[in-house]
């Protein structure tokens, strides 16, 4: 167990730039953009003499009913989780390239000979990289976006307080704890969903003698074209699009958080009847964990496990260094 912890630490040391700094910088840019938007709005409103703040807003708040208040809270919640969108995309890119390089880069620079001179099994090496991609990177990204969200909320609160709105009242209307919980609850789900992509990318990384990215892209795309051309899916009474959605996209794009909402139709089924005043619903376990009932998820997990097994086998037999 201790060894495994140090293997994870090694991955973090090597990829600190992607795992930590990429989300931090993205979050920073996100906050700066928001700050600039706020300043622009303030300047514009001041120049045109539009008084959106001051006593008017205070008055609005006094006259607001419970529904309006809920909407204010919802806006604050959205502010809280919105940075996850940008950070999530960046993290997806980081994980994609991390997986592609994870079992290839050290073969290319021959440092694999150093790693293999230590008493570490190929299985733990590969699994430590899987866990880094499926758990470590997303946890860091979520933590960064939570901090970013809190800063964002804080920023809005300060700005509004210049206009005479009680900061505490605004904060009590939002649900920061629930937002944090919802974001964190999505990490295990992400790990399961991303497994086929992580497995496929790492298999290419482990097996390719050169250019793993070409293998990773070319094999599924060429297969997809063949399937389309010969109408093979017809044999299973499935449309050709099924292959593209459930195989090609799954092995390449599942590393992007939230891709389950886009690709898995199951995720959309009970979205109607959602409370508009409660945007956190979309991320709450009660909603997202419906995915656990989807065969798409579990077939992916199974495929991912097989692909990772293949990556371990390649790790053992490739001796081109």
């Amino acid at each position: 167990m201790n060894t495994f912890f140090w293997l994870l630490k090694r991955e973090y040391w090597e990829h600190r730039g992607g795992f930590l700094w990429a989300p931090v910088v993205t979050g920073g840019i996100f906050l700066i953009l928001n700050l600039m938007a706020i300043i622009t709005a303030e300047v514009l409103s001041a120049r045109h003499g539009v008084r959106i703040g001051g006593n008017d807003i205070q008055m609005m708040m006094r006259h607001a009913d419970a529904g309006d208040m809920a909407q204010v809270g919802a806006a604050a919640d959205v502010a809280m989780i919105s940075s996850m969108g940008m950070i999530g995309i960046v993290m997806g890119i980081v994980v994609l390239f991390y997986c592609l390089g994870s079992l290839y880069d050290d073969r290319r620079d021959r440092s694999v000979l150093f790693w293999k001179s230590l008493p570490i099994s190929n299985t733990s090496t590969v699994l430590s990289k899987v866990v880094s991609a499926a758990v470590v990177a997303p946890v860091i990204a979520v933590v960064v976006s939570i901090i970013c969200g809190l800063l964002q909320l804080f920023m809005f609160a300060i700005v509004l307080s210049f206009h005479g709105i009680n900061v505490w009242q605004l904060l009590t209307l939002s649900h920061p704890l629930r937002a944090v919980g919802s974001l964190l609850s999505n990490v295990p789900l992400y790990a399961l969903w991303a497994l086929p992509a992580i497995g496929w990318l790492m298999l290419c990384s482990s097996g390719a003698r050169s250019k793993p990215i070409l293998w990773a892209l070319a094999v599924p795309v060429v297969l997809g074209l063949l399937v389309t051309w010969f109408g093979i899916m017809g044999l299973f009474n499935l449309p050709t699009a099924w292959f593209w959605t459930n195989v090609v996209q799954r092995v390449l794009l599942s590393v992007f958080p939230g891709s389950n909402l886009v690709f898995d139709k199951h995720g959309f089924t009970d979205m109607s009847g959602m409370d508009d005043n409660n945007p956190l619903m979309y991320l709450s376990p009660a909603h997202t964990y419906g995915l656990l009932a989807s065969p798409n998820l579990w077939m992916g997990v199974l495929a991912g496990a097989l692909l990772i097994g293949g990556a371990i086998w390649f790790r053992r037999v490739r001796d081109d260094s």
Partner: protein, 285 residues
């Protein structure tokens, strides 16, 4: 004495060549073995087989383990420096020590730090900021702090200047080697390791062509400096090699009668490099 490595009928074929051709040998504990051969003779393949880094046919036993199937246990007892500069470029000195200290059960941190204290390396330095010589110093410090029974060195000093090379072998002898350890080393700089070797193995085209200890080398092989008058007589004794120096001939004999040789001229022990050149004649022809 117990054998550290026993190989029987070791064979490894690549697509269109035999890297190892039915090789058998035995390496005892407490030896320093020089595995010497021309480029492409199969040295690295033999080492990779011992380290479980490649598949092969035949039997191979390293410290009681089969390197193919029991690699993880084996690597606790075996250390390995492959050519130079295989340490990952991103790693810092501090990180490398921390990592090895925590994954290797036989690593002695104090020993490693004591060794590094004698170098210019600093804890925060990254491998990519180091010269080749410094990288080898770091690697050697890591390896010497591991209480392993077998150390495998594949061209460890390639591309280093003479100061680093001398220091490398001196450290190995003074601070590392003892009767419980075994070292297998391949190198092209034969002259530099000749005096530290206890055993010598020549490999050529996937075959072991000489496997002997250094004492036997002195008994078996002799070099005679012969004047022109006796050159014909010497030549009739089928020398391994002949070369000319200052109008005299130097003959290299394998197992010739010592008294006869002494009657022909000055007899001396051949250097390993002369022996090597004589044995490998025509390799690239």
């Amino acid at each position: 004495m117990n054998a550290v490595v026993t190989a029987n009928g070791l064979t490894k074929a690549y697509k269109n060549s035999l890297a190892l051709n039915d090789v058998s040998f035995r390496i005892e504990s407490g030896r320093i073995v020089g595995l010497i051969g021309p480029n492409g003779a199969g040295k690295t393949t033999a080492l990779k087989a011992i380290l479980g880094l490649t598949d092969f046919k035949g039997e191979l036993n390293v410290l009681g383990f089969d390197p193919r199937s029991q690699r993880d246990q084996l690597m606790e007892q075996v250390c390995f420096i492959a050519d130079v500069a295989v340490l990952p470029r991103w790693i810092r000195v501090r990180e490398a020590i921390d990592f090895v200290a925590n994954v290797h059960p036989r690593f002695n941190r104090a020993k490693c730090e004591a060794f590094l204290a004698r170098t210019k390396l600093t804890p925060n330095q990254r491998v990519k900021q180091m010269s080749k010589g410094m990288i080898v110093q770091l690697h050697l410090a890591l390896v010497m702090a591991i209480d392993a029974r077998l150390l495998v060195l594949d061209e460890p000093t390639l591309g280093l200047d003479i100061l680093y090379r001398k220091q490398f072998y001196q450290s190995l002898l003074e601070d590392y080697f003892d009767e419980n350890k075994t070292i297998i080393v391949t190198t092209h700089q034969v002259e530099e390791i000749e005096h530290i070797l206890t055993d010598l193995m020549f490999i050529r085209d996937g075959k072991i062509v000489l496997d002997t200890d250094m004492d036997t080398v002195g008994e078996r092989f002799a070099e005679v400096l012969v004047g022109a008058d006796k050159a014909a007589a010497a030549r009739s004794m089928k020398p391994l090699d002949e070369r000319q120096v200052f109008g005299k001939s130097i003959f290299l004999f394998d197992g010739a009668d010592r008294a006869t040789l002494e009657s022909m001229g000055e007899v001396r022990r051949p250097t390993v490099s002369d022996l090597f050149v004589a044995t490998m004649k025509g390799t690239y022809a």
